[in-house]
Amino acid sequence: MGHIDKGKLLFTGGVFLALALYPLVAESYGIDLVTKIMIYAILALSLELLVGSTGLVCFGQAAFFGIGAYAAVLLSPESEAAGWWWLLPASVAAAALYALFVGALSLRTKGVYFIMVTLAFAQMAYYVVHDTPLGGGTDGIYLYFKPGLDTLVDLGNPYILYFFTLVFLVWTFVFLAILLRSHFGRVLAGIRINEQRMQASGFSTYPFKLAAFVTSGGIAGLAGFLFAVQDGFVNPEMMSWHLSGALLVMIILGGLGHLHGALIGAFVFVFLQELFKSEAVFGDFAKHWHLGLGLTIIACVALLPRGLVGLPEMLHQRLFGFSQRAKGKANGKLPDNTATEEAV
């Protein structure tokens, strides 16, 4: 059992509390935006399980997200609302099933090859919905009736959807936190650090990696379901490699190896994106929002080698000269000042 960091616990609890209280002060634009951010946060958490915790860099996470969303739309009856209690598990199962297929094959490869094979499988899924009439082709398809149980859990209502998404975000976070502290999670950490040594000490690593891959795919499918319900519309761009890339950026930006890093990364990334897109702040220049986002990402890489979660520790180091925790942990990983200044 790993020890629980009080600071992290407070931080994460605070974030969830703030999210729960947010609808008291928010307008409908804010509700929609934060719902979207929470969906991306779930997606980022699913990828963090693979990249940060297991060391498997998956470049095709968008496919599982898209399959969850397409399943939610395609399985919905055409003329009435579906019950979410069966539609949600069905979407998750569809994504997990594809993850089982992709994982079983792609886990035979390693390193950069693994990155590319997962990308290849995601591109296949992309082209299948893009080029065949199955999913409406390039136009995508609409979900006319949002699923619900009764008036109490009507997911067509943005406030109810907000809390529904928040519940699943908290659930995903807690589930992954417990999972990573379990025996299973320790094996994944072992695989990340040194897979050969894990094999030498008697673990058959393949089933563990496959289980992590399927779990991750299933959670991405959950995010896809929520996305389809919120937008009421799915199109092939949900599966494009741009989204897979953006997700990787989110978790690296936040700081790999920390669940709350994925959370921070998703929030900061989507927030920055909205900020640079906002015409109120940047006026006409807002349509060139990629520029600001790109420059911010570059500055983050140059200045924050351990992502945003490493920021407090770095500030502490700057202010007080050293930090106890960083001493043993980060030897050689911090950029020397000259290199950093050169880059800026």
Binding site: Y113, F121, H242, L293, G294, I298, A343
Partner: protein, 290 residues
């Protein structure tokens, strides 16, 4: 399929494959030697294509002058980029580099939009290459495409000779095998990296420039090429120049004939091929050996 159609498709496949090879070679070199996964490589291709469009009026419309100026500018750009954005990243994890180059893609894409706009532009080939030659009774084939194939082939051959026959090539090959050893032999590895990076950028930009009259220039063209080139590099075996060559030709064939024979599935074919090859040989067709 008619024989002359078959021949034309073969020529198209060859031309596309060779063009892919030029871009993929830079990618595989930069990865093999510097260990950098350069997502921004497609942007250099795009920069090249846009230079072919934007520089032409400035240098008086001469195609070869445009090429020359463009390649020189691209090499300088590569040199400066390596200095500003990559030189401090080598000690870091691969993923940090992925993040950095992702940021660069966004910046290049937006700079392109600011400087040239978001419209699609055509680029005209030079007059003496604008014609077509007859193949069979009714079919013709544009001379410019043959010219592109020939130029790419020459460049590929030239690069091969540089790699295998010159001192610089030897240093590059040695650098990809053992960086520290090369450094301790007194070779300025930092400078070597900059040269390799600048060369990779220049070749990608060159590929973009010669491709511009065929494909026209349009927003997002770099990203499309990037993904296909990653496929090429991975199929060929990362870091292997020879592998990239054969893989590029293979992808050229599969893609071109896929579009003719199975238009419905043409997008997915390349990826199916890659998945199959990697399941058969998890490290690509050729092991990295230079």
């Amino acid at each position: 399929m008619d024989f002359s159609i078959f021949l034309i498709q073969c020529l198209n496949a060859l031309q596309y494959g060779l063009l892919l090879y030029l871009v993929a070679m830079g990618l595989t070199l930069i990865f093999g030697i510097m260990g950098v996964i350069n997502l921004a490589h497609g942007s250099f291709y795009m920069v090249g294509a846009y230079m072919a469009f934007a520089l032409a009026p400035l240098v008086g419309g001469n195609f070869f002058a445009t090429l020359l100026v463009g390649v020189a500018l691209a090499a300088v750009l590569g040199y400066l980029l390596e200095w500003a954005f990559f030189s401090f990243l080598y000690e870091r994890e691969h993923l940090q580099q992925v993040l950095m180059t992702y940021g660069l893609i966004l910046v290049f894409e937006e700079l392109r939009s600011l400087l040239v706009g978001d419209d699609v532009y055509g680029v005209t080939p030079p007059d003496f290459l604008a014609g077509s030659i007859a193949l069979g009774d009714v079919m013709t084939y544009p001379v410019y495409r043959l010219f592109v194939s020939a130029v790419c082939l020459l460049l590929a051959l030239g690069m091969y000779l540089v790699f295998t026959r010159t001192r610089l090539g030897m240093m590059i090959r040695a650098g990809s095998v053992n960086r520290e050893m090369v450094q301790s032999l007194g070779i300025d590895i930092q400078f070597l990296y900059r040269v390799v990076f600048a060369a990779g950028v220049a070749i990608a930009a060159f590929a973009g420039m010669v491709a511009a009259p065929i494909s026209s220039v349009y927003p997002g063209m770099g990203n499309q090429v990037l993904i296909i080139c990653f496929v090429v590099v991975v199929i060929g075996g990362i870091g292997s120049i020879r592998g990239a060559f054969f893989a590029a030709l293979l992808i050229g064939l599969v893609d071109t004939f896929g579009k003719v024979l199975l238009p419905q599935a043409s997008g997915v074919l390349v990826y199916v091929l890659m998945a199959l090859i990697l399941l058969w040989k998890p490290n690509g067709l050729f092991k990295a050996a230079g």
